[in-house]
């Protein structure tokens, strides 16, 4: 499965619709899909994007000459909320709702722990720098800017959790991409070997990650020594990983925290537009399996495993309740 292949999306949407007794019809020119039941129908809008290893960019519901990925069908129009588009609003929301999120610092001089620097309003480039030890923030990052925030760096696995109307249905977990030394090859070359295309490598991000670990691009890495080389969930250096690991976290503290977070963040979307919305929460899992929520994305990328919940929601078909025995197990 790929969450950005039209083949996967079309297959999953069709199977979900058929299982619910719904009929689907695709418009060949626009790739809009009409899903119809006995007494109503909905039109789903496709979303295309250009490819970037840090995640799809330049979203459009029309195919553009440079579109290369398909990010799913959505019940139009696309919705958004301040919590998903502004990091300060996200942090304020977390504070109001007792959701664990990394500390933020208003000024560079206040940063007394390891930090990352993020954009308040993530743009197409998705700027993120760091991690930096206290007092080690590079000069080029030190410009005071209203559009940047300093956030405590939390080490751990990176997680994305997908929700439909606040209900959890998919989880992806990534380790930070890393390289392994062989005692003869420079770090720069080891990093280059991990990307499909050298143009995709964010060398600034790699240098930040290396500096934090006391390493550099031009050093030869000792045989067997590992170094993390990026801190973002999506990276050109990320090896292929399983795309939905929800089943592996069920019954763990991580699952419990994700279940609690769903309705909380669902309430961040304005009530009049809240229904029929998919959102994604980003978080770090620390060594004690605590989640530190870092961001929310609303209605931008649609997960192919979410179509069943989407169609049930649109057509008012109840979600089956697991049998007691299954729940107990």
């Amino acid at each position: 499965m790929s969450t950005m292949s039209l083949v996967t999306h079309l297959r999953r949407l069709t199977v979900s619709a058929k299982a619910l007794g719904l009929h689907t019809q695709l418009d060949v020119a626009s790739l809009r899909v009409e899903v119809s039941g006995t007494d109503r129908y909905f039109e789903l809008e496709p979303e295309f994007a250009t490819f970037d290893p840090r995640g799809p960019r330049e979203f459009s519901h029309r195919m553009l000459p440079k579109s290369r990925v398909f990010t799913g069908w959505r019940h139009a129009p696309r919705k958004s909320c301040a919590v998903s588009s502004d990091k300060r609003a996200f942090m304020a929301f977390c504070a109001r709702n007792d959701v664990r999120t990394p500390r933020a610092f208003a000024r560079f001089s206040e940063a007394n722990t390891n930090v990352v620097i993020k954009q308040v309003v993530p743009g197409d480039r998705g700027l993120i720098r760091g991690p930096f030890a206290p007092g080690r923030i590079p000069a080029d990052c030190l410009r005071p800017s209203a559009d940047l925030i300093l956030q405590e760096f939390v080490a751990g696995h990176m997680l994305e959790a997908w929700y439909w109307d606040g209900r959890l249905f998919a989880v992806e977990i990534h380790n930070r991409p890393h390289i392994v030394g062989d005692g003869i090859t420079r770090v720069r070359e080891l990093i280059a070997c991990n990307s499909l295309n050298p143009d995709w490598i964010d060398w600034v991000a790699a240098e930040d990650a290396l500096r934090f670990q006391g390493a550099s691009l031009d050093m030869v890495l000792a045989s067997g020594r590992e170094l993390a080389v990026d801190l973002r969930f999506a990276s050109a250096l990320q090896p292929p990983q399983p795309e939905n690991v929800l089943n592996t976290v069920i019954g763990t503290p991580v699952h419990e925290q994700l279940l609690q977070a769903g309705p909380v963040f669902f309430s961040a979307i304005a009530q009049p537009i809240r229904r029929h919305t998919q959102f994604v929460l980003g978080a770090i899992i620390d060594s004690q399996q605590r989640l530190w929520f870092t961001d929310m994305t609303t209605d931008l990328r649609i997960h192919p495993e979410g179509y069943d919940l989407m169609l049930r929601g649109l057509f008012g078909i109840p979600v089956p309740v697991p049998a007691p025995a299954a729940m107990a197990s």
Partner: protein, 331 residues
């Protein structure tokens, strides 16, 4: 990431067909369970059947004519479910047919002592570049005493660019020309390290095949490649060692060769290839022919594929052909 490449990306195929429909003033519906298209234009109706690609658990790539749960990328539409003919089944038959009809192919030998050039060992019946070994220098092959297994043959190894030509009936409609991937020695790194530097990450490559091509050039995988020495590391189509273009562009370069002798060769060879298809399945057929473009600019053809991935650029000639205006009725 195959599903993102220009010719395996389904929505690019949809876009290509949509452009053709506009020209034909036609319309199409897609069966979402099978991916098939039903096209209506000029008073006629044609069904195009879909094929999908997947990575089976046993490794490699497979094509499926159904939209299976593990289908990942799109292989294309054509106006029939499947067609196979003898020349597409066995490379030896194809070469014999080409030779008999004046189409350039690499030389072929069945016994090691008869070999007169550097060679590969291939199987007559195989897909996706499977079952190939070598290359071997002529002297090594000749003195090897190697007895070929059933179905194998020695094929002349030609240096040049790898080409794939899509034909709609007898006409070449799309062409890819890919250089054989190379690395350049720096006097420090071993050949294995240089190959790791260009290969697609996180998937191990066929080191046995790399070893063979290294030995052919007097190198070893774990030996340092001298400064400035260029070594060919792959001769097969679209392997893990071909560079990935970050924009996944259209790789059809047919138009660039429009007025060249190569184009003339592709056209005349196409007439021969098409005649090699039995009449019952000849009309309205899409196929590809693989080859090597040698140093003189001549294509030397290797095999014909009856069940190829369709490039999005094939729909223009395909649909123009399928919906061609009927000839005027005799008075």
């Amino acid at each position: 990431m195959l599903w993102m490449t220009y010719h395996c990306n389904w929505f690019i195929h949809f876009e290509a067909v949509s452009k053709c429909l506009a020209q034909l003033a036609g319309r199409a519906t897609c069966n979402m369970e099978t991916g098939a298209l039903e096209i209506r234009a000029r008073g006629r109706k044609v069904e195009l059947f879909a094929q999908f690609g997947l990575f089976p658990p046993t490794g490699g790539i497979a094509y499926a004519q159904a939209l299976l749960d593990n289908a990942l990328f799109f292989i294309g539409w054509r106006p029939y479910r499947s067609r196979v003919w003898p020349l597409s089944f066995d490379k030896r038959s194809f070469k014999a047919f080409c030779s008999a009809n004046g189409v350039a192919v690499p030389r072929l030998w069945m016994r090691s002592e008869d070999v007169e050039a550097d060679v590969l060992v291939k199987r007559g019946v195989s897909s996706f570049s499977e079952g190939i070994s070598g290359p071997y220098a002529v002297a090594a092959a000749k003195s090897s005493g190697r007895v070929l297994a059933q179905g194998e043959f020695f094929e002349e190894f030609i240096h040049g660019d790898i080409i794939k030509v899509w034909y709609w009936n007898a006409a070449p409609v799309c062409l890819e020309v890919l250089p054989m991937p190379t690395v350049i020695g720096d006097g420090t790194h071993t050949l294995r390290q240089l190959i790791r530097g260009i290969k697609i990450p996180h998937i191990d490559c066929d080191w046995q095949a790399c070893q063979a091509i290294a030995e052919y050039q007097g190198l070893t995988l774990d030996g340092v490649v001298p400064q400035g020495q260029r070594a060919v590391v792959e001769f097969r189509y679209q392997s893990l060692l071909h560079p990935v273009n970050s924009e996944f562009p259209n790789t059809n370069v047919l138009a660039k060769f429009a007025t060249t002798p190569l184009m003339e060769q592709l056209r005349s060879s196409g007439e021969v290839f098409w005649r090699g298809i039995p009449e019952a399945v000849r009309q309205d057929t899409l196929y590809t022919v693989d080859g090597i473009l040698d140093r003189t600019g001549t294509a030397r053809f290797l095999e014909i594929n009856s069940n190829p991935a369709a490039h999005p650029d094939v729909y223009q000639p395909m649909l123009q052909g399928l919906f061609a205006e009927a000839p005027a009725c005799p008075q």
